[in-house]
């Protein structure tokens, strides 16, 4: 279905899109005290796919991710993950099921060390030896963090905190990784670094839902994308289609 210019990860290269998506959302609605923030959206993510969700401020992107992670309770709709319904499953159980969210603003534990933050990521796991090897992997992926293992996360720069938040999420060995505006507030060089990492992680075959205000950047790494406006999905398609579409050009790419 999608013909992207980005080389697809090997695991998903030939995967059939035949009705077995990792995540399937139908008619999702979220209401905050009378205000409808998400007004019945449909979306899906196949195994190994990197999907972008773009849209302007207040469109409902963060709310959508929170509903998927279980931090807010939807007013309606279905969320199917690995074939099962998530509705009645609490947020902490979803984490154990392989759903990880790197929240907006990163949410690192400022008064814990980097090492402790990463251990928190592995909270639901009990395989001590594997956790230790994963820690080493994270320090290899983010050498900046390796140098600062025992530094309090609150003393790190914004970019380093974003690395902690991503590494922490990866420590849970997620099967669905959701990233909420990883580029927010970062200098261009750091943004490039973070996006290179996202590309690397995707290349390993991880399924990723990426929310971004920086639409161009997001669509450059994604295979497919959704455009959200005032709580509804107004456009969807392959990343290349969206990058080329007039509507997206005008609204989000300043073209």
């Amino acid at each position: 279905m999608s013909e992207s210019k980005i080389p697809a990860p090997p695991s998903s290269a030939g995967a059939p899109r035949a009705g077995n998506p990792l995540l399937e959302v139908r008619d999702l609605q979220v209401v905050y005290g009378g205000i409808r923030a998400v007004k019945g959206i449909d979306l899906h993510i196949d195994r190994g796919e990197l999907v972008a969700l773009i849209g302007s401020n207040g469109a409902g992107k963060t709310t959508t991710l929170k509903a998927l992670a279980g931090l807010v309770h939807p007013a309606g709709g279905q969320i199917r993950y690995e074939g099962g319904e998530l509705h009645s499953i609490a947020a902490h159980r979803r984490a154990a099921m392989g759903i990880a969210l790197v929240p907006e603003g990163r949410g690192v534990f400022a008064r814990m060390t980097i090492a402790e933050n990463l251990l928190m990521g592995a909270y639901s796991r009990s395989d001590k030896i594997e956790i230790a090897t994963d820690l080493d992997r994270m320090y290899a992926l983010f050498p900046r963090l390796a140098e600062r293992k025992y530094q309090l996360a609150g003393t790190l720069s914004g970019g380093e905190q974003q690395m902690v938040a991503m590494a922490r999420a990866l420590m849970s060995r997620p099967r669905l990784l959701m990233l909420d505006e990883p580029s927010m507030g970062l200098a261009p060089l750091m943004v490039q670094k973070i996006f290179a990492t996202i590309r690397d992680i995707a290349a390993l075959g991880m399924s990723i839902l990426l929310v971004e205000q920086n639409a161009r950047l997001a669509l450059q790494v994604a295979q497919r994308g959704y455009v959200m406006e005032s709580g509804a999905i107004t456009l969807s398609g392959s990343a290349t289609e969206l990058l080329g579409s007039d509507a997206v050009q005008r609204a989000y790419l300043g073209g």
């Binding site: 609490a90 902490h92 159980r93 929240p103 400022a110 814990m112 928190m120 639901s124 849970s172």
Partner: protein, 307 residues
């Protein structure tokens, strides 16, 4: 000089009890931002449970070496169940209510527990049975007895154990994570309700031990003893910086010392106008001074940093 040393010893012993109770206040505050005013009553219930089971068992002819540990375990278990129940019934339904609601509820729980205790154990003072010869040791002109030594050593050991749990275990990391950011902790897979329950139970277990210590130290227990003790331990927690564990321990020991030294010298200071029975005043002078001059406490951070 002997008086000074004596007051320091008494202050440290009493202060270590305050510290144990203050930790219960500060742990709950750190995690929930809630002042559990019923915590002092848990100490009282702990003391009462130890006393009644001890008296009963000694009455049945159980030897003290057996009766003491059994009744302590009973009191700890009972207080843990009580702490769990208080959170479950009184605080959890109000978790997202405005802050004033759980505060008022806490005072309500405290009154309910006091009255229940009065109905069960009556209005009389209960005396702590003499279990063993409480030898008094003297040095440098001051004296310290076995019970005081046991209290201090036990309190320090329990506090050290708590620090290990909080700083070096998975449970401790989860507690600290919740204290910082409940949503992020949930995203890591932390069952927030479960960890909050465990926190209340840990605090209540320490309260039970503190109840034992107070009644053993003074040889008395009373249904009303939790009120003043709770208020003083709360003062100690505020003095150290509420929400900060090391602060609670420091605050407890300091408050014990201030009270004890104050009581020892208040007669001299006031030219004989006040007697040592005014020692309770010091705790509240300390509370007022801290609230006026350093609301964040000795080791606490400014409130803005927590937001």
């Amino acid at each position: 000089m002997e008086i000074l040393l004596q007051q320091i010893i008494n202050g440290l012993v009493q202060g270590s009890i305050y510290a144990l109770v203050a930790l219960g206040y500060t742990m709950v505050y750190g995690i929930l931002g809630l002042i559990n005013f019923a915590h002092g009553e848990v100490v009282m219930v702990g003391a009462m449970l130890v006393l009644s089971s001890l008296t009963a068992m000694l009455g049945w002819g159980v030897p003290p070496v057996l009766a003491l540990p059994i009744s302590v375990m009973l009191a700890i278990t009972g207080c843990m169940a009580l702490g769990y129940g208080i959170e479950r019934i009184a605080y959890r339904p109000l978790r997202h209510a405005p802050r004033l609601a759980p505060l008022i509820t806490a005072i309500g729980v405290s009154i309910v527990l006091q009255n229940l205790a009065m109905m069960i154990w009556g209005r009389d003072y209960h005396s702590f049975p003499q279990l063993f010869a409480n030898t008094t040791h003297s040095f440098g002109g001051a004296v310290i007895n076995d019970i005081q030594i046991i209290i201090f050593v036990m309190a320090v050991a329990i506090m050290a154990g708590l620090m290990v749990v909080v700083h070096h275990t998975r449970l401790g990391r989860a507690m600290r994570a919740i204290a910082e950011n409940q949503h992020a902790a949930q995203l890591m897979g932390v069952d927030v309700n479960r960890v909050i329950s465990i926190t209340f139970m840990l605090g209540s277990a320490m309260a039970a031990v503190a109840g034992l210590m107070v009644s053993a130290n003074y040889g008395l227990a009373h249904y009303y003893m939790g009120f003043l003790l709770g208020l003083k331990a709360f003062t100690a927690a505020v003095l150290g910086g509420i929400g900060n564990l090391r602060g609670a321990m420091l605050g407890g020991l300091l408050l014990g010392l201030i009270e004890s030294l104050g009581a020892g010298y208040i007669g001299d200071l006031s030219g004989g106008f006040f007697g040592s029975n005014y020692q309770d005043v010091f705790a509240f002078l300390v509370l007022i001074a801290v609230l006026v001059f350093r609301p964040s406490g000795l080791l606490g951070e400014r409130l803005a940093e927590r937001a």
